[in-house]
């Protein structure tokens, strides 16, 4: 996807307008690298379900599609993971160049419940990562995302997680390329990936 400066400006305006009306379907285009964004390289070092520590270096040459969530999230997390699954299927052979990651923000409970069986139910390519509290907070801070545990009698086990539900795209070099806000159709994510692969 090669866009002229004018097109990019129009897209940015459209995105802002959409956000202003509260529409869920917004893709924030970050395809124009600025100095600030080039410096933005999120990092993570988190164990997978087998306890192996994983970081960006484990996925050479791959774009990462990163989602922070928790498996006790029955409403919006399945929607996003299902979109990721759709994207991976639709990418065909190009899917070898994309690694979807599900980073648990509720790692202790998710490890108990089973991380692998959850991610695999959506797509075998999705890798679940669940660290300890410090590793998880470090990864989230590095992605500049928010999550918090909220005690609530209206949630399973007496607490719920509030979190940023967007999907983040990271380049093989580790640069943050952009985010797909919750509700972005799989077709848009697919188009963006295809343009980059």
């Amino acid at each position: 996807m090669r866009l002229s400066k004018l097109q990019k400006g129009l897209w940015a305006l459209a995105a802002v307008a959409l956000m202003a009306v509260g529409a869920a379907v917004v893709f924030i285009d970050r395809s124009s690298p600025s100095v600030e964004q080039a410096e933005f390289r999120p990092t993570f070092a988190l164990p997978d379900a087998d306890g192996r520590l994983r970081s960006q270096a484990d996925f050479p040459g791959k774009h990462l599609l990163v989602f922070f969530g928790f498996t006790n999230c029955p409403d919006i997390c399945p929607t996003t993971l299902a979109e990721v699954a759709q994207v991976m299927d639709d990418l065909g052979e190009l899917s070898d160049d994309v690694q979807p990651l599900f980073i648990s923000i509720d790692p202790e409970r998710d490890r108990e419940l089973g991380l692998d069986e959850y991610t695999e139910a959506f797509h075998p390519s999705i890798l679940g990562l669940a660290g300890d509290a410090a590793q998880t907070r470090a990864a989230a801070d590095s992605f500049r995302i928010y999550y918090e545990r909220e005690d609530s009698a209206d949630a399973p086990d007496g607490y719920a997680m509030s979190h940023s539900p967007a999907l983040y795209l990271i380049s093989p070099e580790g640069d943050w390329l952009g985010q797909f806000t919750y509700g972005t159709p799989a077709s848009e994510i697919l188009a963006e990936l295809k343009a980059r692969l």
């Binding site: 409403d75 929607t79 209206d154």
Partner: protein, 157 residues
């Protein structure tokens, strides 16, 4: 394996669309009730549906019960500055002459403490209690864990 999934998906897509079961109480019509398959019973399930109010008075969905869960509750996913949370919804308004959908990213019936595994293709009953129109029970169809909309169609679709 992938090819098998693709073939199954094609068969499913080619099959005739099932009509949604619709139930009524007073001037309210409830339809398009669906859920997602669960993995075991440890994680909460979810129910989505659509309520239409053809009457001239506002009503509200105030509670749900189901044999499939010991702690069902109305929730609403709320986005505040890009942060998602899902507080308890005291009620779901059903405006006169309007409709409301429980759908992904909005209102949902959260099924905590599942009493049974929700298996794709099966149905289970959910009883809705409305402030004025009373109770009504609807069968909920369990779809794939990755489903994002009901596969059945309404009579007017």
């Amino acid at each position: 394996m992938k090819r098998i999934f693709a073939t199954l998906a094609l068969i499913a897509a080619a099959g005739p669309a099932l009509a949604c079961e619709t139930v009524t109480t007073g001037s309210l019509e409830v339809s398009r009730a669906w859920s997602r398959a669960s993995i075991g019973t440890a994680r909460p399930g979810v129910v989505y549906l659509t309520i239409r109010n053809s009457g001239t008075a506002d009503d509200a969905l105030i509670s749900i019960t189901t044999p499939a869960a010991d702690m069902p509750m109305l929730h609403q996913t709320v986005m505040t500055d890009g942060i998602a949370s899902m507080p308890h919804a005291m009620e779901v308004p059903v405006p006169a002459g309007g409709q409301v959908a429980l759908e992904p990213g909005g209102y949902h019936a959260m099924l905590m403490d599942l009493t049974q595994v929700l298996k794709e293709g099966e149905t289970f009953p959910v009883t809705l209690t409305f402030r004025d129109a009373g109770e009504v029970t609807i069968p909920v169809t369990v779809q794939n864990i990755g489903a994002s909309a009901p596969t059945c169609t309404s009579p007017d679709e």
